[in-house]
Assembly symmetry: C2
């Protein structure tokens, strides 16, 4: 992981379909050198994959929420995962330290669909309470982690 690798990752963050030659001219390397580094980063797991960023609104998802889950007793992350994986509206979820046990990020077409998805999660018997914060407007949305340093 040197400066060249970080520069390459920066290029790929902005455009993952850039050619190796393009990236090379930006970071000052030849195309084959860039490819070798990208392959190495992928093999080492630094690069998890390449995806497309889709506008949720264009696909009809206009409602977003963060839901805090409070559980009864000790619920394992695996049990939580099993329940949440069944709900397609769940985009990401983490166990957290603090008031709630888990924080779930959800995206749905509308409030009705969101409500139904939350109901489905709450059917798990060990869910005690859920607190939903509906997103009003996205203020910041960065590709991934902060600066490459």
């Amino acid at each position: 992981m040197d400066d060249s690798d970080r520069a390459i990752l920066g290029c790929l963050l902005r455009n993952a379909r850039a050619t190796y030659a393009q990236i090379g001219s930006e970071v000052g390397l030849s195309a084959s050198a860039v490819k070798r580094r990208v392959d190495a980063l992928t093999r080492r797991g630094v690069i998890r994959g390449f995806t497309v960023v889709i506008d949720p609104d264009a696909l009809g998802w206009r409602t977003e929420a963060y839901v805090q889950l409070y559980c009864r007793g000790n619920v394992s992350p695996e049990a939580l995962q099993r329940v949440l994986a069944e709900v397609p509206e769940v985009v990401s979820a983490s166990t957290v330290s603090g008031s709630a046990d888990a924080l779930v990020h959800m995206v749905a077409a509308d409030v009705r669909q969101l409500e139904r998805a939350i109901e489905r999660i709450r059917r798990a018997p060990w869910i005690e309470q859920s607190v939903s914060d509906i997103v009003l407007s996205r203020i910041i949305e960065r590709p991934t982690g902060p600066q490459l340093g």
Copy 2:
């Protein structure tokens, strides 16, 4: 936006560097037809861009948190954006309806760096309170929106 478009987006979500020929054989179209559709989706804004998914841990980011911000008086989303954009540890942020005014997703190298970043946000005079939930473990992490339907 028909089934072919959705199938193409599904392929690109899994691997944004797939060739048009590869995508075509998966969705049952020729390479040129796929390219035309991808170009159209990009032009219409459905596709916002192509990025690489980086393992935060491999880059040294091992601490993640969701921070709820409570503000004094009416703070505009624009003012919030100005403050949060200055903090590189902020990955995403939204204004929310519910108890807090905003929810901020942050990634940092360690707890110390996270603490300093939160302090920097709290310097804004209209921040009344902040509640931080530190992520213990990621349970679910999906590329983007739920299923393509």
